[in-house]
Every structure is written in structure tokens, then in C-alpha cells.
């Protein structure tokens, strides 16, 4: 286990700018989702990715188009980073027929299999084995693809974490396990539930590399993830990456957050991944006006997705049972 330094992986300005664009897109999308939910425009409930944008962005940037990811209940950011278009993504949150899952899944189950996005998963730790299974497909059919499993510091205490990492290591599968340590398992702080402070030491139990990374440092995330993904693609097996980040919002939008101190949350904003990327870009001579343009473009794209979603039809009630089986079963 090593805590990787930023300097190990400086990014070209053009690359950093691309990553900045994705992070901003996720930020503005999620802020808008939060507003829409509080305005009672979205059914169900939503978990937003605010503050953690660098992780999905940096990791997915290191993937190739055919590669797979599995995601969590907090999955909008992963979907955006993997290339899912905002229109069907937003429409899904509205429960509309034009959504990525035709309104059948909603916020916790956004997916786009055509992009290798194997679904946000409402079961904590649900992706461990699914990612290993996708990696097994790649290995057996010689597809040269890598699977990334995103999960949280809550998920790392599931038994499936142990079962999956053991199996992935035994089989030397092309899979990278990316823990987003946002410090809270739902409403409970990590230190109250977890045996070790540095979560990546658990990799030793499976004979695989483990790295703890500043998950709000986009250059570090991109660099370390790129190394682990390349290693997996070369057939050298799985890795465990622990991205130290922070969840700005509650577990879900509307959470009263009585379990934590507001001041501590505000303090974390000094580590904001987007602001840090901006600082680097500005220091390298990128114009503030250019960054403003990036933010404006994202705002427009998000607003268009809201319009698209609002104008889209709800699914017809007669289709409520669609999709249960590939070969339909008559209900008696």
C-alpha cells in the first residue's frame, strides 16, 4: 500500500481540461437533480454524487469504450463519466419511457449496457461479483476488456467484498475495485463500523496491490486508475484502489444529516476536486473565461435534458410487465 503523490501523474493541460469538463457536467447535473427532487419533480428518492466527481471522472477516463463498470445507488456520476447521454439519464430519473431503462429502474438503477455501464445497483456491494463476472467474460472470450467495480466504504464491509476479491485474485481477472471512501456508510461514520483506517490494506488479504489515493485530486485518480487498469488489461490481475473523498450531501437528498457537523462538511470544500482542477488550469495559463464557457455549456446541456425529460411521455400502464422475461411467460 502506498499513498500515491500527485506529482507522479501530472496531466497534459488538454487532458486535464477534458476531465474538468466531465466533472463540471456531473456537478451541474447533480445540483439540478437535487433542486428538481426538492421541488417534487422526481419520484422516489435520489442519492447525488456531489463532491466525489473526480473519482468517476478520472477512473472512467482511463477506460476504453468497450470496458465495463458496475455502479452503486449513487450512480449518476458513473453514468455520465462512462458516456451516458444526459437526456435519457434525466428522463430515467423522471420515470419516463425515454429513460435509459424506460422508466423501470429510476435513479438507483441507471444503466446503459451498450456503453458497458452494467447498472447502478441499489444493493450495497451488489457490483463486486457482477464486475468479476464481466471480467470473466472478457478473459474467456479474449475480449481484452477491463471491468471496474465502483463501491463505497459501506460496501467494503460486505461479505461479497471478500468473496469477490478472493475469486478475482485466484482467477487473475481483469477487474479493478475502486472504493469511494466518502467517509459515511449511509448515516454512519466509517470509523464506527470499519476495522482499519486505511481501507486499501485489505488488498493484502488477497495477494493483490492496494493503493490509497486522494480521490479529490483528479490527476492522482487518473494516474493511479490508469496504472491499475493497464495492469489488469495486461493480464496481471485485479487491484484495489481506495479513493479518499467526501460526500457533501446527505445519504439521500432531504437527509437531515443529524449525524454530522455542518462545519466539518464546509471544511471539506477546501478539498473540492473541481476547484482544485481550476486552480491548476488557471496556473497553467488557461483563461477564466474559458472555464466559464465550460460551465455554461454544461448548464445548457443539463437544462436541455430537463426539458427533454419533462416533455417525454410516461410509460403506458399496459407495458408494466414488459421486460420481465426475454422469453415471455403467460401469467395464469
Amino acid at each position: 500500500m502506498t499513498r500515491k503523490a500527485v506529482a507522479d501523474h501530472p496531466l497534459e493541460s488538454a487532458d486535464l481540461r477534458r476531465l474538468y469538463e466531465t466533472m463540471v457536467k456531473i456537478r451541474i447535473f447533480e445540483e439540478r437533480v437535487q433542486e428538481l427532487f426538492l421541488a417534487r419533480k422526481l419520484p422516489g428518492f435520489v442519492h447525488v454524487y456531489l463532491g466525489e466527481e473526480a473519482v468517476a471522472t478520472g477512473v472512467c477516463d482511463a477506460l476504453q469504450p468497450g470496458d465495463y463498470i458496475t455502479s452503486t445507488h449513487r450512480g449518476h456520476g458513473h453514468a455520465v463519466a462512462k458516456g451516458v447521454r444526459l437526456d435519457p439519464l434525466m428522463a430515467e430519473l423522471y420515470g419516463k419511457e425515454t429513460g435509459v431503462c424506460r422508466g423501470r429502474g429510476g435513479s438507483m438503477h441507471v444503466a446503459d449496457f451498450s456503453l458497458g455501464m452494467l447498472g447502478a445497483n441499489g444493493i450495497v456491494g451488489g457490483g463486486f461479483g457482477i464486475a468479476a463476472g464481466a471480467a470473466l467474460t472478457s478473459k474467456l472470450l479474449d475480449l481484452g476488456r477491463v471491468a471496474v467495480c465502483f463501491f463505497g466504504d459501506g460496501g467494503i464491509n460486505k461479505g461479497t467484498f471478500h468473496e469477490a476479491l478472493n475469486f478475482a485474485s485466484v482467477q487473475q481477472l481483469p477487474v479493478v475495485y475502486v472504493c469511494e471512501n466518502n467517509q459515511f456508510a449511509q448515516f454512519t461514520a466509517r470509523e464506527r463500523t470499519t476495522s482499519v483506517e486505511d481501507l486499501s490494506v485489505r488488498a493484502a488479504g488477497y495477494g493483490i496491490p492496494g493503493h490509497t489515493v486522494d480521490g479529490n485530486d483528479i490527476e492522482a485518480v487518473r494516474g493511479v486508475a490508469g496504472d491499475a487498469i493497464d495492469r489488469a488489461r495486461r493480464g496481471e490481475g485485479p487491484s484495489l484502489l481506495v479513493m479518499e473523498t467526501y460526500r457533501y450531501g446527505g445519504h439521500f437528498v432531504g437527509d437531515m444529516e443529524e449525524y454530522r457537523d455542518k462545519a466539518a462538511v464546509e471544511q471539506q470544500r477546501d478539498r473540492d476536486p473541481i476547484r482544485r482542477a481550476e486552480t491548476i488550469l488557471l496556473a497553467r495559463g488557461v483563461d477564466e473565461a474559458e472555464l466559464a464557457k465550460v460551465r455554461e455549456a454544461a448548464r445548457v446541456e443539463v437544462e436541455l435534458s430537463v426539458e427533454f425529460a419533462e416533455q417525454s411521455p410516461y410509460p403506458d400502464a399496459s407495458t408494466a410487465l414488459d421486460g420481465l422475461f426475454a422469453t415471455p411467460v403467460v401469467q395464469s
Binding site: C101, F128, G133, L324, F325
Partner: protein, 349 residues
Amino acid sequence: MGPDGPERAVDRQMTFGQATVEALSIAMRADERVIVLGEDIGWGGNFGQFRGLLKEFGPRRVIDMPISESIIMAVSVGAASTGMRPVASMSFVEFTMGAMDEIVNQAAKFRFMFGGQTSVPLVLRASDGVLRSSAAQHSESFEAIFAHIPGLKVVAPATAADAKGLLATAIADDDPVVYLENKRIGSSRGEVPDGEYFVPLGRARIAREGRDVTVVCYSVMVTYALDAAKVLAEQDGIDVEIVDLRTLVPLDMATVDASVAKTGHAVIAHEAWRFGGFGAELAAQISERHFGRLGAPVARVGAKHSHMPFSPPLERAVAPQAEEITHAVRTTLAHRARAVATGRDAGRT
């Protein structure tokens, strides 16, 4: 049966286990996406149901898994939804409980909750049923639990031929199929068709034609029902029709309907608990559809609502026996006779 007639039929006698090995090896030769993964499969499996596969297909496709049930299942879901056709094995059905999260929350829901974007073409094989004092954690039957979950298909063959044909179809099917192989009949032999052989899902079989009463059953209970029918024919002159469901989901109610419409009496038999069992669903559906023409309430035979004891006489007291089918049939038919005698016949024609 081939042109060689009886001689060839003798050649084709094999056990359940052998029949499933044949189905698997044919499917694996035809399609490189078919893989097998499970506990202790490399050496052949507890009932010989994987014997020879490792030798022919090698460890890449015949994967000995750690005793990690949830990962056996989750890996199968991940592989299935990215293009493979995994056959997962958990030896005893009780072990599937360690993978219930993946079976219910992932395998059964993937296709539906992702709006039909993906399919999960996997087979989950597990051995169920009572056999020689295996006690509480190796004797049970959970088909009602699986059938209760939308998105799962459930198969429970009663003959070696169906064991082959239903497994072949389950592998070829694009949905998750729970394939339950009963331990007691696992080593029994039967005639099995040669080469590629498919039995469609959702089509019941008339295991014995009869006029007086319909026994609806599946898996090992078909054997018990056939024994019971023989006794009833000889001792009581009762002509029993036996419907072997073969698959519980999809459920072939058309065959059940036709039989009950003919006989006007229904007895349901399964080895699982009677209370809340699959028979309760069958009884409800039969009653809803045939209320006016039933000569007696639908009868059910199943295990007592308890766990399986180890001691042989206690095991026999909890698990349903063939005589209970005989008794249920007699009681059912006597009900009508009593009704006729007292002028309370429901008016069945």
C-alpha cells in the same frame, strides 16, 4: 427412439446425473459461451452430474469455485449479462440461501429493472429433497421460494430424459432458470434420447392417463404418484391421471385444466412443506377455475411444517410418503361418494 428399436433403447438407459452430463457436454461443444462454475465440479460433483467435463473442456470453462455462494451467483449474473451462458452449481439447495441476494436482487431483476436492455441467460443447479437422513440442512425443497420471485424460471424434472431435455432447454433459454434435481431420483435410470434433445419449458407431461382423479406433481413425487396409482388401480379400481408439471415457471395450467375438467378431482403432491407450498398456488388456481365441477376440495400432500429430523423414523414422519398420496386420493373420491349418498352432490356432470 432411433430406428434400431429396443436394442438401442437398452443402450440409452442412464441415470439422471449422466443425462445432465450429456446435455451439458453437447451444449458446451456447440457454444463456447457455455461455462460451468460451482462447488466441487472438477471431480464430477456429488451425484456425478459433472463427471468428465473438466477433462473435455478444461479448467477455463469448468471452473471450480471457492465455497462462496454469493459470488458463484453474482459472477454468473455478470458473465451472463455480458454474453456468456453460465451454468452455476451449488450442490445442495440449502446452499443457495447464501446467494439469495444475488438470485433475487440481481439475477431475477436485472432484465426488468434495466428496462430490458440485457438478459441473464444462466442456469442455477441445485440438488433438493430428502435422502437417507441428511437432516435439516441437506434435505429440503425450496421451489416455492424460487417460483414466488418474478423473473426466475423454475424446473424440476422427474425422469432422466426430462433431466437432459430440460437442462438443454434451460441452457439455451435467455432467462435465469433454477434447475432443481432431486437427490432420491438422481441415481435412478431411465431411457434418454440420443444427441441434441430439448424439452420445452412450460409444458407438462401426462405421466399416466386416468379417468377418476388428477394427481398434479413434479420431481420425485411423480415416482411416488406412479406407485400410488398402481396400488389404487389394483386395490380400489381407481384410475389415476398423473400430471408431471416438469416446470413450475412457466406453469402449464392448460394441461392441469384439461385433466381436472376430465376427472373432477385434484390431489397435489410435493416433497416441500405443504404450508405455503407451491401446491397452495396450484390448489387456489384449480379451485378458481373448476369450483363448480370439483367433486371434493383440492387435496394436498406435502411435508409437515417442520425441519427434517435426522433419525429415520422421524424423517419418515415429516417427509411425505407414497401412502399419503394413496390416502389423499381415497379421501378425495370418498368425499364425492359421501356427497352423492347424502344428496349434496355439487352437480358435477
